[in-house]
């Protein structure tokens, strides 16, 4: 029983991180039909920022600093990506552009940090464990779960309740109509792109003490984020949350029970959802656009 | 005799808006039938619902006495119901010959053969050329469809539709955007269509309608206002009021091309 509890908690922590990462990918796709293949690379930038600033020395200040630095770096990268993709009108071209950026960023990172596996320490005050139902569990992961919950509420309020949020939702639903109403969507699009990338980079820092940093991690994270977005429904915030929680659990259970086949379980979950609900569990639009 | 196409209470609504409302219609084999009506009458919606591009919200569609309401568009096409589009819908990056051959090879059941080069399927190629000949495009078989003029694209559409060996051809505003000369050539082409072919045409140009059609159905606000031979329709008071009387406004909006 308690092993399952640990697995469920691990899944929730993973789900929180996945939500932070996948949110930007989903909204950028929903609002602009841009598939940002550099999203995993942005995440990895965040992870390496933590390697540079935190490393093994565990203090709260450097950790907070690296979160802020990652957010800035992510936002800058996101802004750059938004500018680049807006320079070409075709969606396939845009995806290829982000693919090029992903290759360049990954190569620069491996040139700067080498190909070794780096581990990142959790800040000292929360580096220990706490007893949950007779089982010791890292405090840091509980904090990550808490972060996920706060983020979910904050994003919900922002997207579902604020004027900016209604503009975002309207753009997802019908971009042409929003543009026809005379709203300049350009700044909102760049803003969402930058904010989503910043969140992904922050996710890289926060995931650091759990997943570390190494070349190739960008692909793994991109895959999980893609699956979350596909399962949840493209462009849907609630879908991203549900998908992240689901995939977090599948990942954790898979790692606990069938570590060899965990990637297969993730794929099977996606295939199953697509078989039953081709547009995802909570689609933002009634139909999946090509 | 069973009509070739029969609509029974066909309805299509978008939310609370009912674009096509309880339409009954029967078209016999070999008939030339025109569907007219002011903008917003529901012509295009009716057309798309019959073709299967849109799903019906109610009622049924019978082709040759068989209910096809639940069948997807491709299946209806296989049973002989082939449509054109208001804006030419071609395979622009393919050659003119390929455009027609795509229709022929489906009929000849060789569309998924990959063991020989397409040109070795001589019956298919010859058939495609015959159809291109019949619409006067035999000189342009190797050009890309994108290189054709607007009028030529319409001719190519006709060749494609005929090549699909339909029992019922549905033309959606075929002369829209054509010059007078192009319209004249196109109508002449339609007049030469094989006798046994059943034609349903949605058309704005009333001269074309009264020249081509043996029967005319007037649609107004999603309902059938009148249906009968052209001279009867011309004389119908109600039609005059609803439609012909509004010809002036009609002219203003002809180019707008919204959901007719």
């Amino acid at each position: 029983m308690t092993t399952y509890l640990v697995s469920v908690l691990n899944g929730l922590a993973m789900g929180s991180l996945l939500f932070a990462i996948a949110l930007g990918l989903s909204l950028v796709f929903g609002m602009m039909d841009v598939l940002n293949l550099a999203h995993g690379a942005v995440y990895l930038v965040g992870a390496y920022v933590a390697v540079a600033l935190v490393g093994d020395g565990a203090g709260v200040a450097p950790f907070v600093l690296s979160v802020l630095a990652a957010a800035v770096a992510g936002a800058l990268l996101g802004g750059l990506l938004a500018t680049l993709t807006r320079a070409t009108p075709h969606h396939l071209d845009q995806a290829l552009l982000t693919l090029g950026v992903a290759l360049v960023v990954a190569e620069v990172l491996s040139a700067a940090f080498g190909n070794d596996v780096h581990s990142i320490a959790a800040p000292a005050p929360v580096g220990g464990g706490v007893t949950v139902l007779g089982e010791t569990y890292p405090v840091y992961r509980l904090l990550v779960i808490g972060f996920g919950a706060v983020l979910a509420v904050a994003v919900y309020v922002l997207v579902e309740r604020s004027p900016l949020g209604s503009l975002i939702r309207a753009t997802v639903a019908d971009r042409a109509m929003v543009a026809a109403l005379g709203v300049n969507t350009g700044r909102v699009l760049v803003g969402v792109f930058a904010a989503g990338a910043a969140l992904a980079a922050v996710g890289g820092v926060l995931a650091g003490p759990i997943l570390g940093a190494q070349p190739g991690l960008d692909e793994k994270v991109l895959l999980l984020a893609l699956v979350v977005v596909v399962i949840g429904g493209l462009g849907s915030v609630r879908g991203a949350l549900l998908g992240a929680v689901l995939i977090g659990q599948v990942q954790a259970l898979g790692t606990a029970l069938l570590p060899e086949y965990a990637p297969f379980l993730v794929f099977a979950a996606m295939a199953l959802v697509l078989l039953l609900r081709p547009a995802g569990l909570l689609p933002a639009r009634s139909a999946v656009h090509a | 005799m069973t009509p070739l196409l029969e609509l029974r209470g066909l309805t299509r609504s978008y939310g609370s808006l009912t674009a096509v409302d309880q339409v009954d219609l029967a078209i016999t084999r070999g008939e030339r039938h025109a569907l007219i009506g002011p903008n917003g009458a529901g012509k295009s919606t009716l057309f798309a619902t019959v073709a299967g591009t849109l799903r019906a919200s109610g009622g049924s569609i019978l082709l040759n006495g068989q209910d096809v309401t639940a069948l997807p568009e491709a299946e209806r096409a296989r049973r002989g119901m082939v449509r054109t589009y208001q804006h030419s819908s071609l395979f622009l990056d393919c050659s003119v010959l390929d455009n027609v051959a795509l229709a022929v090879q489906r009929v000849h059941r060789v569309a998924h053969r990959c063991d020989r080069a397409a040109r070795r399927f001589r019956r298919t190629e010859a058939e495609a050329r015959r159809h291109l000949d019949s619409v006067g495009l035999s000189g342009r078989t190797r050009d890309k469809a994108a290189a054709l003029s607007h009028g030529e694209r319409r001719q190519l559409e006709v060749a494609m539709v005929l090549a699909a060996e339909p029992a019922l051809v549905m033309f959606d505003e075929p002369t829209a955007g054509m010059s007078a000369a192009e319209t004249e050539r196109f109508v002449a082409l339609l007049e030469r269509l094989p006798e046994e072919l059943t034609v349903l045409v949605v058309e704005h140009d009333l001269d074309v309608v009264f020249r081509l059609a043996r029967r005319v159905t007037v649609l107004h606000l999603g309902r059938v206002l009148a249906s009968g031979p052209p001279q009867e329709i011309r004389a119908d008071e109600e039609v005059r009021r609803a439609y012909l009387g509004a010809a002036r406004t009609e002219d203003l909006f002809t180019e707008a091309g919204g959901p007719g």
């Binding site: 320079a87 396939l92 290829l96 893609l226 | 491709a74 071609l90």
Partner: protein, 341 residues
């Protein structure tokens, strides 16, 4: 043969006018000359460049499969590396456990690539455009990571110790030149096969789907079926390419089927000009040349160069270096946007 999308010599003119026959004959001459030149390569090049060219040929086979999807059918794919990997693993496993016979291995790779594509492809072919790209990437990455964790196939270490291939029960082919000739022979066969498909009625169907899927339905086609078919076919082609790749390296690891391989295969198609068959093959050679052979002389930063090439091609020459054919998928995508009915 040069460009799969133009119908070659038309039957009615073949017998009548000599002029119409000439381009076809010229293409045949060029084809024979290129193949002869490629076949002669080991006679005047050393083993290292010959090995490099063997890899290019195997990679070009993968790229042909990607082109079949991306260029001919208009379905941009980032998942083909997975089937390439499946083919490579199959060939190595057959080589280690069953037989060194190169034909059995290549056939095994082809069949397993086909099976893997058939099992996973139905998820992807229901989508189009960018969503298709997204789903193929998810499939490809799942398979790639499965290879990295599954201990039966060596996990992240991969599988080493594959004996050299042999043909017709003969002695092991250890010389680079012999392996090259074998790979060249299979690559030419696959090229001819793909060229035939592209020019067949089925190829025409695929181009029809690329250009205007709604119209295909109105003509009575079931496009999803044809898309699934070409996906399986492209998987088989990629599997054959993977088997060739492994036969040269005699080793396979998850790195052979990763994101980067998929990205470079797509880059080769985009650089070469989607829809044409020669262009992407040249693109494949170019891309591998930069990644594997130029890399050491530029400080090992081949991927950096390729990433930059990617960005530059899209921004500066979005139609592909080899010509205007790249416009097609994009034009098709644009039309779908404008004309969603």
């Amino acid at each position: 043969m040069l460009d799969g999308t133009t119908p070659a010599v038309e039957p009615l003119r073949t017998g009548t006018a000599d002029g119409a026959d000439r381009p076809g004959r010229r293409r045949a001459v060029v084809t024979v000359a290129v193949v002869a030149l490629l076949a002669a390569t080991p006679l005047f090049l050393g083993p290292y460049p010959v090995t490099a060219m063997t890899r290019m040929l195997a990679f070009a086979v993968l790229v042909l499969g990607v082109d079949l999807l991306t260029g001919v059918t208009g379905l941009p794919s980032l998942g083909q590396a997975a089937y390439f990997g499946v083919g490579a693993y199959t060939a190595v496993l057959i080589g280690i456990h069953l037989t060194p016979d190169a034909m059995v291995q290549a056939l095994g790779g082809l069949v397993m690539g086909l099976v893997a594509a058939a099992v996973t492809g139905w998820v992807a072919v229901r989508a189009r455009g960018i969503v298709f790209l997204m789903l193929t990437l998810a499939i490809g990455e799942s398979v790639h990571q499965l290879a990295g964790t599954w201990s039966t196939v060596g996990g992240s270490n991969g599988l080493a110790g594959m004996p050299p291939i042999s043909l017709f029960g003969g002695p092991p082919l250890t010389a680079a030149g012999f392996v090259y000739w074998w790979v060249l022979a299979v690559a030419v066969l696959v090229f001819a096969g793909v060229a035939l498909v592209v020019r067949s009625p089925y190829g025409r169907t695929l181009r029809g789907i690329r250009d205007n899927e709604a119209r295909m339905r109105a003509l009575g086609y079931r496009p999803a079926l044809a898309r699934y078919g070409v996906f399986c076919l492209a998987g088989a082609v990629a599997g054959a390419g993977g088997a060739l790749w492994a036969q040269q390296a005699r080793f396979v690891s998850p790195g052979d089927m990763g994101f980067e391989v998929a990205a470079l295969a797509l880059l080769s198609v985009v650089v070469g000009g989607p829809g044409s068959l020669w262009g992407p093959c040249l693109g494949a050679a170019l891309v591998l040349l930069v990644r594997d052979n130029l890399s050491p002389s530029i400080g090992g930063h081949g991927p950096l160069v390729l990433g930059t090439v990617f960005i530059a091609v899209v921004l500066l020459a979005p139609r592909g270096l080899a010509g205007l054919t790249g416009a097609r998928i994009l034009a098709a995508a644009r039309r779908r946007k404008e004309n969603p009915s």
